[in-house]
Amino acid sequence: MPKTAYYIPIGPIHPALKEPIRVEAEVEGERIVRVDVKRGFAHRGIEYMGMKRNAIQTLYLSERICGICSISHPYAFVVTAEKALGIEAPPRAQYIRPIIAELERIHSHILWLGVIAHEMGFDSLLFWTWKGREKVLDLLELLTGNRINYSVYMIGGVRRDLKESHIKAIKDAITYYWKFTEQMKEIILSDPVYKARTRGVAQLSKEMALKLNVVGPVARAAGIRMDIRQDMPYDAYADIDVRAVVPQDIVGEAKGDAYDITMVRIYEIEQSLDIIEYCVDNLPEGKILAIPNYPALLAKIRRTKGEAIGAHEAPRGEVVHYLKFDGRDGPSVWKVIAPSYNNINSWAPLLLGAEVADIPIVVAYIDPCMCCNDRVALLKTPEGKVLGYEYIHKKAVEKTRKIEKEVRG
């Protein structure tokens, strides 16, 4: 048989991908020899929409950029807008914002741990980790009213205050997650199968990480100590002295593979717990909004001419926003750089020379976040009539009975 290269298209819709993106790989045997990544299946022109709306509307639009880390974009947006407007959030708000952001980091990292377990076919681990994630989602619902898309940030503060009962619930959750993280370390990091499946897979050297401009846990797993909360602190992070979590501080050496990135994410959950604990214990008293009157805020934005670049360290890496106010009540220019924008750069070089079975892990290890796209599957008859649920269920039951009869003879 002649030696030929085969072409494997993955996506835009594929069981290994939670969101639409396309990876086209050319393989010789099991080895990948050429890769191309196609993005943009979930591009919705949000920046364009934001440049037509007022700043408060754009703030909540920015929350819809990402469905998982839905507070990261509003955080970067408010930091940037406050820089451009020259206002400062009240101290209490500056302490509440990191609490919400770190709770979100916990749920996002646990989500990723489940996803990567699922990608390598370890589904019991997926269900166990996601069971643990429920508690933080419930807590976020208690604090903000929503499990996702919390809408609590505002330019110059936050919209909801923390009550005594909230603080008690946060403290309970912290105790729960200290235990849960210990268990995760034991179950995930010391599991021989997990280690065999991730050690050396998706390995990114420090030099490559710098050149590919990757950010967040991907860069930190490769040994680069970069973290916006450490390099350019804002809000309460400026009081806390956050330090980037890197594998060389944990085990003495950074390999930059999928195992290291797991380690970085698990230890970052512990770091988040520390940050939340500090913020809750040192929560200042006072008001929560610098300009509580929204028309006044919009009027101030209309009078402001200025631009700023702001960033927030999201669970997946840095989120950078650029805003320009120029006589409108909203941004006249708005540019958003999300972490996956840079992290997807690593796919093509990492997949070259890898094996086909590594594709899901390489694709999932950066925790890609294109955006959430819901789809509905409809079954149609050849004439185009949509089949109802009852009919499909009846057919399924009939088939099961038929197979049962055949098996039992």
């Binding site: 993005r39 943009g40 591009h43 022109g45 364009y48 929409m49 037509k52 709306r53 820089k83 101290p91 500056q94 302490y95 710098l210 050149k211 590919l212 401009n213 990757v214 950010v215 680069i224 100590r225 970069m226 450490q230 390099d231 350019m232 602190p233 804002y234 809000d235 309460a236 400026a238 009081d239 002295d241 330090r243 980037a244 040192n282 200042p284 670049i309 960033a311 950078v320 650029y322 320009k324 006249s332 220019v333 540019k335 750089i337 924008y341 840079n342 997807i344 750069n345």
Partner: protein
């Protein structure tokens, strides 16, 4: 290296091409106030490549963003933002380069030879603003579909823009009803 030394380096290598610069200070922290610094430099477009090389000579930077603004006139205002000396607590200095690019020659040298990861950013700017990057190898669309019409750039606010391709994304429900455009 502190902020003054960064400015000195830029002045030294760019000379008159450094048209204007500003050091911005932001005070952060509640209990203990400390300062963060940013450099915003306006340069001549001919010195763009040199300015980027100067930044690379300071430290291997992190590229924050490339963006551009078209306000309908004859120029596109370009913005490149780099971060240097990151991975030090409170140490990152953000350097933002701004320059005007006349619409009759929308060509820039690529920086992908210095930083391969900038390919994503350059491909996005290329398809969104119609700026050609000399030396950029992969010129396929990034976010826009492969069958996107030629000569249409979503961020442009002139005849090359996409106003005619968009229906209601930026209008309020009231505006649509007032004009009686229905639910097209």
């Amino acid at each position: 290296m502190n902020i003054e030394e960064v400015i000195e380096k830029l002045k030294e290598s760019l000379g008159d091409a450094l048209l204007n610069y500003e050091i911005r200070e932001y005070e952060m922290g509640i209990r203990r106030k400390r300062k963060l610094y940013e450099v915003w430099a306006e340069i001549d477009r001919s010195a763009f490549r040199k300015a980027v090389e100067t930044i690379f000579s300071l430290d291997y930077p992190h590229l924050h963003l490339i963006s551009g603004e078209d306000n309908g006139g004859d120029i596109i205002k370009m913005i490149y933002s780099f971060g240097v000396f990151y991975s030090n607590p409170w140490g990152e200095i953000s350097i933002t380069l701004k320059f005007d690019l006349p619409k009759d020659s929308l060509i820039l040298p690529t920086i992908t030879d210095l930083m391969p990861g900038a390919e994503t950013n350059e491909r996005e700017i290329r398809e969104m603003l119609g700026i050609e990057f000399e030396g950029l190898k992969n010129k396929r669309h990034l976010f826009l579909p492969d069958d996107w019409p030629e000569g249409k750039y979503p961020w442009r606010r002139d005849e090359y823009g996409v106003e005619d391709m968009i229906k209601h994304t930026h209008k309020s429900v009231k505006e649509i009803r007032k004009k009686g455009e229905g639910n097209a």
